[in-house]
Symmetry: C2
Subunit: 357 residues, 2 copies
DNA sequence: TCCCTTATTGGGAGCGCTAACAATCTAGTT
DNA sequence: AACTAGATTGTTAGCGCTCCCAATAAGGGA
């Protein structure tokens, strides 16, 4: 059996329910007493059509409630006007905001967005790509799951833009936040407070954006002549608690904590509350990405503010350009600068804001 | 011009880039020296095929890397194996969790899920339905935007299940949380604490689930012989602040606040923090739905816990059944009971949990 | 008036696939 | 050996649409 789903056993001759009764081009043509081609041309805005004919055709379309059959269009090589958006996880506000923005941008240009999530399953990635291709999406926007490696030939020349995470293997455009600069700025800010032992933590460091943020952290530490501390992996509530306990013990306690992603920030905020760790008195804190409900948290969080809208819009526009201009992917790497929102958790007492280079 | 996007002006004779080079059934058939029908039969798991032929066909498929062309399948009336999921807003964790669960369930049954969001634009609803139909989704899962009224004929007989919010007009199955019972239970619990003036607040009350929750509130108040207080609309941070100020003033201050949806709960938690209102000392609080980051909030929140997974799974399974068994929609109304998570914000001091009827 | 150019319309063919039916082949029966 | 039921494979047509090319209608200059 093949690895793609099939129509199901049909017993060899069981009739499949055909979507009956739908109005076709031929129906419209007959009603308007013209050739199907004329209707087709009208639909495509071909100017070589007399106003009188156009009116007749329009009337027939409206009267019959005609809708185009995209399967037939697409079979002839026409664009489907659908782009696929594959995300690792819809429950993460970072990605759901991307979804929102991509849809906004694409919709304004006449495209539908087919959103799907891999739920961090790297094999699911490849399957989604293939099946979306089978369904003739015009292009693909990919925030690939951790570790998935997409061979170039699997993309089969379909316009693709990677977003947030690069696509190893396939040579495509890549739009991302300038994570390295953002992390560097954040750590620099913490250093200005006089903290010397600044620790970083987060999820699996294999993911590209995390690697970039680690580099940014190291940049800032080294620039200040301080040794970078090792990256602390934190995946769940239990490990956050555990880490909190070890951070403050020992002869040289950590003075500031910088989680490198939003989920981890949440984990630590929960742990701080549970362990009655006072921020920023016991420990300074700098969050990565805006946290939902952050206004209900005291002290207010200083955070890296990711330019999600700009990133999503850039990526979408680049993709649509590739689709419509049929330009080759330039393998460009577009880095969008993030900004810092300085509130109180880092040790500041008044709010102010700065923008990274 | 029609109201659906068209392929773009083609000048009458500009050649459209056909996705060249893709392996077709005929290619496989030739490579395996059989008829195309034989390959098709193999793909559909037809048992009337000799093992030797099956092997030959499989080898050819693997060697050539054949993938089915769904446009052609669908044009013949075959199922597309895609279901559409239309949600009001992906940024809301309630809906993004629905998306996650639907995908989980559908994927296990060989279906892809086409997720799209209307961003609370009621007109966008209808357009998405129509365009997904144009693309031959096998069925539709709908959490319709507020106020959208879908005429039955627009659904055109496509299997549909409404989720969370009913579909006015179209007679389809409807899977929802038993919001009325959940609200009743929550209010009853608050009443047991001795609170008599319990206020409800939330977004636009036109939305069906909100209406049900209001009814549940009124049930509980009347059962206790108390007059229900009027519903307080709250849409943003400013109005939450305003409401907080008025709640505690006057001769008969409100003792407990019960926001009827998650977003509003967040708004009030932020306002409480800003106004230094202490929960539950100044005001008891019962949240609707689990709030992200709720573990980082003191006191811990008592909340209605919505059975999102069960709801999404039920809805998906019902839809797939309609699709595969070709059963008519029973116009059934399935209510899934919610449970209460009792923590501290309601005035309790120890955690315990109860389940509504 | 005729011919030629340009605007507008029509007529097949065929995209890749599958339903229905036809054809062939096998083994079992009398 | 002739025949038949059943298993296996092939053939044809056509899903709804758009391509290519041909056909017609409309204007303009000789």
């Amino acid at each position: 059996m093949p690895d793609f789903p099939i129509g199901g056993y049909d017993g060899g001759s069981v009739s499949v329910s055909r979507p009956m009764g739908r109005v076709t081009l031929a129906d419209v043509a007959k009603a308007a007493s013209v050739a199907t081609m004329t209707v087709s041309r009208y639909l495509h805005g071909n100017p070589n059509i007399s106003p009188a004919t156009a009116r007749k055709v329009k009337a027939a379309i409206d009267r019959l409630g005609y809708r185009p059959n995209y399967a037939a269009r697409v079979l002839m090589g026409q664009p489907s006007k659908v782009i696929g958006l594959i995300l690792p996880n819809l429950a993460n506000p970072f990605f759901s905001l991307i979804a929102h923005c991509v849809q906004q941008t694409a919709h304004g240009r006449g495209y539908l967005v087919w959103i799907a999530a891999t739920n961090d399953d790297p094999t699911s990635d490849l399957e989604l790509i293939e099946r979306m291709r089978d369904h003739h999406v015009d292009g693909l926007l990919l925030a690939s799951s951790q570790g998935s490696n997409i061979p170039q030939e699997k993309m089969g020349g379909i316009p693709t833009v990677a977003i947030d995470r690069p696509l190893r293997g396939a040579g495509v455009d890549f739009v991302t936040v300038d994570d390295r600069a953002a992390a560097r700025e954040a750590v620099s800010h913490l250093l200005q407070h006089g903290y010397k032992r600044i620790a970083i933590t987060g999820i699996d460091a294999q993911i590209r954006p995390i690697q970039e943020r680690i580099l940014g952290y190291q940049d800032a530490m080294r620039a200040a002549g301080l040794p970078p501390l090792p990256y602390i992996r934190c995946d769940d509530h239990a490990s956050a608690l555990q880490i909190c306990k070890t951070l403050r013990t020992g002869k040289r306690p950590v003075e500031a904590l910088f989680p490198l992603n939003g989920d981890t920030s949440v984990l630590f905020l929960e742990a701080f509350e549970e362990l009655r760790i006072s921020i920023p008195r016991d420990l300074a804190f700098f969050s990565y990405g805006d946290i939902p409900l952050s206004r209900a948290i005291r002290p207010r969080l200083s955070a890296v503010q990711q330019p999600i809208e700009a990133m999503a819009e850039q990526a979408t526009l680049r993709l649509l350009e590739q689709i419509e201009q049929k330009t080759k992917p330039s393998r460009a790497r577009i880095k969008i600068p993030a900004s810092l929102v300085i509130r109180e958790s880092c040790g500041c007492t008044r709010s102010r804001s700065s923008r990274t280079s």
